[in-house]
């Protein structure tokens, strides 16, 4: 079985600060981390490889420093990693990003399963996983909370929904996106980490994956961010509710109903 895990290096959003003048995110000094949801994808890839044999490859598109996240994947057991990095990829939205990743997966060749985290914490779109599946015209299953069975030709997964879950069986090749419930990602060991520092990580450019340049980067992206602004101020005053417990309960309930919360 040949598995590709797509990962993204993201800014640690808890640290995000906004420049009061330009209203832009101050990216300098912001820590870059492996997208937390992707650690579950990496772990699942490694576990499936350990059970069924084969190879698991980590793939990422990003600036050169995104290599650190690929090394992290190697340090927990991924066999090898590929970085997609080029100026021409810059400014890609989810449409163009999933196109680039899909082209790289085609280039890797003979891939049976692609695993993504359910979403990245910087954009929270959850669009790249299904986007890759669509570009490849493969089947997909999103919000996967368990891989119940897998063979060389099919996979059976448990998908999470707001109202419960379902069991879905589909042919391979396919793309799945995974949620936290699926496993407990291992933390890299010192030994693994020291070994990962010695690995070669090839960097692929648009030509290496035969990408159509009109479909990548800003030009290939149908969406445009036209404005960035701070969120509206929280509130100006606190509405205090006091009185007997019954009065409090009734007043609060009115407020909840007013806002269609109940």
């Amino acid at each position: 079985m040949k598995i590709v895990v797509c990962i993204k290096q993201v800014p640690a959003t808890n640290d995000a600060k906004i420049d009061p003048e330009t209203k832009r995110i101050i990216r300098e000094g912001m820590k870059a981390i492996l997208n937390p949801f992707d650690t579950y994808a990496v772990e699942e890839g490694v576990q499936l490889r350990d059970k069924f044999g084969g190879e698991v490859i980590a793939l990422s598109m990003g600036p050169p420093k995104a290599e650190a996240s690929l090394r992290e994947a190697i340090s927990v057991g991924v066999d090898r990693a590929i970085l997609l990095s080029d100026r021409a990829f810059g400014g890609s939205d989810t449409w163009a990003t999933s196109y680039v990743l899909a082209k790289a997966i085609e280039k890797i060749g003979d891939v049976d399963l692609v695993i993504c985290g359910k979403q990245a914490i910087d954009g929270d779109t959850a669009q790249v996983g299904p986007g890759i599946a669509a570009h490849l015209d493969w089947l997909q299953a999103t919000y996967v909370m368990a891989v119940e069975e897998i063979s060389s030709s099919s996979i059976r997964v448990k998908r999470m929904h707001e109202d419960g879950y379902d069991i879905c069986e589909m042919s391979l090749p396919a793309v799945i996106t995974v949620v936290k419930d699926i496993n407990i990602p291992r933390v890299p060991s010192l030994k693994g980490r020291l070994a990962s520092n010695k690995c070669e990580i090839p960097v692929w450019k648009p030509d290496d994956i035969n990408a159509d340049t009109s479909k990548i980067g800003l030009n290939g992206s149908p969406t445009r961010v036209v404005k960035i602004q701070p969120p509206p101020p929280r509130h100006t005053s606190t509405k205090k509710i006091e009185g007997s417990s019954i009065e409090c309960a009734q007043t609060l309930l009115r407020e909840l109903k007013l806002r269609s919360i109940v």
């Binding site: 989810t94 910087d122 929270d124 089947l139 379902d166 042919s171 609060l252």
Partner: protein
């Protein structure tokens, strides 16, 4: 990608909503989005169309008109055993090519977030996830999509001027459901399922409906959270009851409560737990240490219930209820109609 010309753009008309259907019922998010679509369509002097894919739903379409739809496109799929992304994508793609909508809006639910990205790639369209605001340029029909980014630290406004249709998802409960007008009428367009629509190599083996309250804090719309003031695991049982009554609510906790062993760590909100950004956060007996506040202060509406009116949480809350939560919460639970 090659940008559309003005003439090409003008061929695309009307605002579409993809209905969310569960167990043969139209879900509330559909009405919320229909209301939002109505506003956009009025500005563009065009129509609201709702796409309904499912089985045994024909008799229930009138409600869509009451909430502002002009047209319901019904694709009856009697053999459907559950949500098949690929089948619904093929249907959507076919309908989009045939009818050319200007805008397609879909609920940011697990199904919507699986379906629409696939449709957007297949139809070469821009898509913006989890919009909290939608407006439209009445002149050229450009959809202005506002959404939080970087963990809610900024709001981004996004346009897809060069392509049609323009696609967006919106989370449930973000848009306000309009008042229904039962007298409003609309037309139904029936579209057949094609045999080629069905994905033969994918099957839904089983569907499990779980009434258990959502557990996953990140996916919840409302979080009811407890702190040291809950006094013990019993207190959290009360919050779980409360959450079940509210519907779609998850139970959160402060670090003090988790460290006391009252509730599992998966529920912890704050710097060393999860950062949440829900529509509503109800803090019960949480004093509001800095490390907790950073994890929840970007929630839209914060309600605090505490005996002590002077805690940091009660200061930052939009609504601060001063009183005994062990009396107030059971009273509220009693008063909320059982779903």
């Amino acid at each position: 990608m090659i940008a559309f010309t003005d003439a090409e753009r003008k061929k695309y008309r009307n605002i579409w909503v993809v209905a969310e259907i569960l167990f043969g019922e139209i879900q509330p998010v559909t009405y919320e989005l229909t209301g939002a679509a109505r506003t956009l369509a009025d500005l563009r002097k065009s129509e609201v169309w709702v796409v309904v894919m499912g089985s045994d739903i024909e008799g229930k379409l009138e409600s869509l008109f009451a909430y502002g739809a002009d047209v319901a496109i019904l694709v009856d799929n009697p053999g459907s055993s559950g949500f098949v992304d690929e089948t619904e994508t093929k249907i959507m793609k076919r309908l989009i090519i045939k009818y050319k909508p200007e805008v397609v809006i879909c609920g940011a639910t697990t199904r919507g977030r699986a379906l629409i990205p696939r449709v957007s790639v297949m139809t070469h369209c821009g898509l913006t996830a989890d919009c909290t605001g939608l407006s439209i340029d009445p002149e050229n029909g450009d959809l202005l999509q506002t959404r939080p980014a970087f963990g809610g630290n900024v709001m981004a406004t996004i346009r897809c001027s060069n392509h049609r249709p323009q696609m967006a998802t919106v989370r449930p409960r973000v848009m306000k459901s309009p008042e229904p007008d039962p007298g409003r009428a609309g037309r139904i367009i029936k579209e057949d399922m094609l045999t080629s629509d069905s994905e033969k190599i994918k099957q839904i083996i089983d569907v499990f409906h779980s009434t258990e309250t959502a557990y996953n804090l990140a996916d919840a719309q409302i979080i009811i959270s407890g702190g040291r003031g809950m006094k013990g695991p019993e207190g959290f049982k009360l919050l779980k009851q409360f959450a079940q009554r509210v519907g779609g609510a998850a139970v959160g906790a402060s670090r003090a409560a988790v460290d006391s062993g009252w509730i599992p760590y998966a529920h912890q909100v704050g710097q060393t737990g999860q950062t949440v950004q829900t529509k509503v956060y109800i803090a019960c007996g949480i004093s509001g240490q800095i490390q907790h506040l950073v994890g929840m202060q970007s929630c839209d509406l914060i309600i605090a219930i505490d005996k002590n009116p002077d805690t940091p949480m009660m200061q930052i809350a939009d609504i601060a209820v001063v009183g005994d939560l062990f009396e107030i919460i059971p009273e509220i639970i009693r008063e909320i109609p059982n779903l």
